[in-house]
Point group: C2
Chain length 546, copies 2
Amino acid sequence: MSTPYETGLDKNPANHQPLTPLTFLERAAKTFPDQVAIIHGSSRTNYAQFWQRALKLASALAKRGIGKGDTVSVMLSNTPPMLEAHFGVPMVKAVLHSLNTRLDAAVIAFQLDHADAKILIVDREFSGIVAAALELATVKPLVIDFDDPEYGADAPYPKGERIGDLDYEEFVATGDDDFAWSMPDDEWDAIALNYTSGTTGNPKGVVYHHRGAALMAYTNTIHAGMGRNPVYLWTLPMFHCNGWCFPWTLALTAGVHVCLRWVRPRAIYDALADHGVTHLCGAPIVMSALLNAPALEKREFLQTVTFNTAAAPPPESVLAGMADAGFKVTHLYGLTETYGPAVVNEWHDGWDDLDANARAAKKARQGVRYAALESLTVRDPETMEPTPADGTTIGEVMFRGNIVMKGYLNNKAATDEAFAGGWFHSGDLGVMHPDGYIQLKDRSKDIIISGGENISSIEVEDALYKHPAVVSCAVVARPDEKWGETPVAFVELRAGSTVTQEEIIDHCRSLLARFKCPRKIVFTEIPKTSTGKIQKFRLRDLAKEV
Amino acid sequence: MSTPYETGLDKNPANHQPLTPLTFLERAAKTFPDQVAIIHGSSRTNYAQFWQRALKLASALAKRGIGKGDTVSVMLSNTPPMLEAHFGVPMVKAVLHSLNTRLDAAVIAFQLDHADAKILIVDREFSGIVAAALELATVKPLVIDFDDPEYGADAPYPKGERIGDLDYEEFVATGDDDFAWSMPDDEWDAIALNYTSGTTGNPKGVVYHHRGAALMAYTNTIHAGMGRNPVYLWTLPMFHCNGWCFPWTLALTAGVHVCLRWVRPRAIYDALADHGVTHLCGAPIVMSALLNAPALEKREFLQTVTFNTAAAPPPESVLAGMADAGFKVTHLYGLTETYGPAVVNEWHDGWDDLDANARAAKKARQGVRYAALESLTVRDPETMEPTPADGTTIGEVMFRGNIVMKGYLNNKAATDEAFAGGWFHSGDLGVMHPDGYIQLKDRSKDIIISGGENISSIEVEDALYKHPAVVSCAVVARPDEKWGETPVAFVELRAGSTVTQEEIIDHCRSLLARFKCPRKIVFTEIPKTSTGKIQKFRLRDLAKEV
């Protein structure tokens, strides 16, 4: 039965438009045309120019026949063309596929084929590996070289050869200045494609839509505490969940993008001191790099800088060091499938007064949903019942809302599995605390089941990290005839340390139930993926052999 | 033709949820349960309690059979029940109809009948007029009295009689604590109904949807520069475009609502000083009241307070006074049909360095679209062609986007007319400046056409306001055999001034082309609507008689 509120009150172009971040850049360019949009080395691009460049890129793409649903792949650093692509590509209803610049040729080739790449824009830092990938790939995209004039005399890597059909500047120059760009037909239309790093099996192509990208811009602005005209430093790679959607977010408040090709402490301190950076994002390792930089590389800066970090919460000592150095650290959590961060450890003022242990316990939690995420829960994946909010019962972390992906490209089975029961299954295991904050305990596949008891590898790793000699560690399962599985620890020691396996195991026993303690300690360098994640599947293979 | 990005990537509950402000309050209550949500006199309500109250109100409504598409009317001041209604009513998919508390009985009766009110919640300040309205109305809603325990001993008006079937607290108490509230079925579903003040003809019922309310919360937060936990003072009536959607906006950042029944300078200064208010909204007259308050009513406060104002830009002297007093004034513009403000005078830092005249010229402009409004234009309503962006060619201001109403309730003709050609026609006349900022020149019906020339009544009023003796004025057309129409000015003089008609006309001639100058000056008090708008239709009647 239809009510009067549903009669004669339909959608029309005056009262309904697709949500998209494209209108945010258009607004910034019209309202603040002279405001600096992009700082890259010695170059400055204002908002009018940024818009014009994106428009010309879109026009150039259109002239090559690129349109709705076509994939434009890019292998780019945090440079202006990467920002231009975030707007220029969707302006012709095409989809931006950002390649992780640390991938090997086979994976690049797989992604190009799977995404059916029509265009490939490549920074010359990566020509070599991309040339090898193109040898392996079936698709034959139009290849465009980006030859960065700001590459820098102090570059740690030399530029590679030209491999493209034409140069990026030549390509953009083929576009028209007055191109008529397109709104998406529907806010549900795809805007970006990001492959999961895939610790096992083929990578899956995560599809984002315009609606989610626009909502991420709003919610990022709020959770990052971005006032008007923020200055954002690009330490986080833009190929990583579209830089957690910050290329689109900054357009909302006409912020300044400070590009950064290589994450080096001196360059970061220079940006903080010279450009008044207010916000940056990055893995905890960036914090350590900043704090441990030689005094000569450090610079004074006056502003408080918000540092958004994800993954494991940083140790208390690092957080204290960051506060002393002028940073406010915000702890986020999310996945490629949730457009990057979708959970934030909302800090209560009163928690600063807790003792160090209690404060660390609060810091260790991932937190609560972003405003633009409608629901966050911990459930038993079998029964789909919520676990008790007791801080101890482990279940799977699940998401529901408008900043969850459309699904996996050309992979209905994986999509259906991920969305089973009407929730996105993260594959992360965690607990719900009584106050509604979640805390991760493990990846589903990383849990160790020993004698029928679940052992959280994170819990064992936390214990290992409390040993002063341990700088990095990872705990995985080893098959065991008697127990099913037992935990094995891989440990990197601080330089000059001489600690034995027995001392480490004794240390663990002082903190953990005996069944949770590693049976074997392997002192070794720990293998990581291109995005810095520990490759537990490799460690599991190694564990079988020890 | 469907692309791979549209295949097997459909909406499901995991990746698509209706946009609604309800989830913002739920999040605030779960994340910051102990944070103060509402200050009203001596009472304090935290976010857990606010949520619980809204839930019980929703449950009580459901028990009375209220559900999808039903209208719940309220005649309430800026008090806690008004905030509760903004969430409790949509929690059962019903629609909140906020009555302007300054209306007369006939208009209230018209609205109750037109909206088919099922429930009517009435503050006892307004019992008398509502009782009279109910005599006139055909509908027989369940009437609920709100008897405010914080009414105040210094009340300028006495409380009226009980007229309801039961008391608000009794009614809420019938609700269940654990009521299962409803998300809207669709974000396009109605959330609120607000009647235009209707200077001619019957009021039109403007319907808002959940989508627009949620987007207003995001965009208000950004344009008002609301950081975390803002403190918002309710000087603007919540019956006015749902308080420009700030009841929903504050939920996004868990802000504090400071209620205010009567807008009196002493109470405002007390709130600023005692509660650390960071934001308030109001008409320019509130600024004058603050600045002109007796010294005894003023209080010191340390924070900078953002004052959002709409309608006519305040004079430069008022802005300077506000800056000295610790306020940052932001100038907004919008209509009931655009959820309140949808245009903001985005200020450029460099403009502070302009000379006084140039700065005043920038301040006088309404500005650019809100981020959540997709398009703002000035067009010839006949041809629908955009007017040149020359700052002088007058056209009609038109809006397009997600913060434009669904339409007018039960009024297809008016809805179709408002949305003709795919744009919302504001009825306001204005110009587009070369930098994309709009400036209002008049309401369509307020333009004066004299000897074939258009005269902007606003332009003439601006000239009148430059005379030191003029405190308020309005210019309307008077029919004229020779010229078609000529301008007549109605003027209120500063107390003690003795200025003649000739002096005022000479003053105008020193600033305006002769044909634009008023032929007649009427010194009188100027009639205003319940929302403080000048009633030009009355003045037009008076003008015929002078």
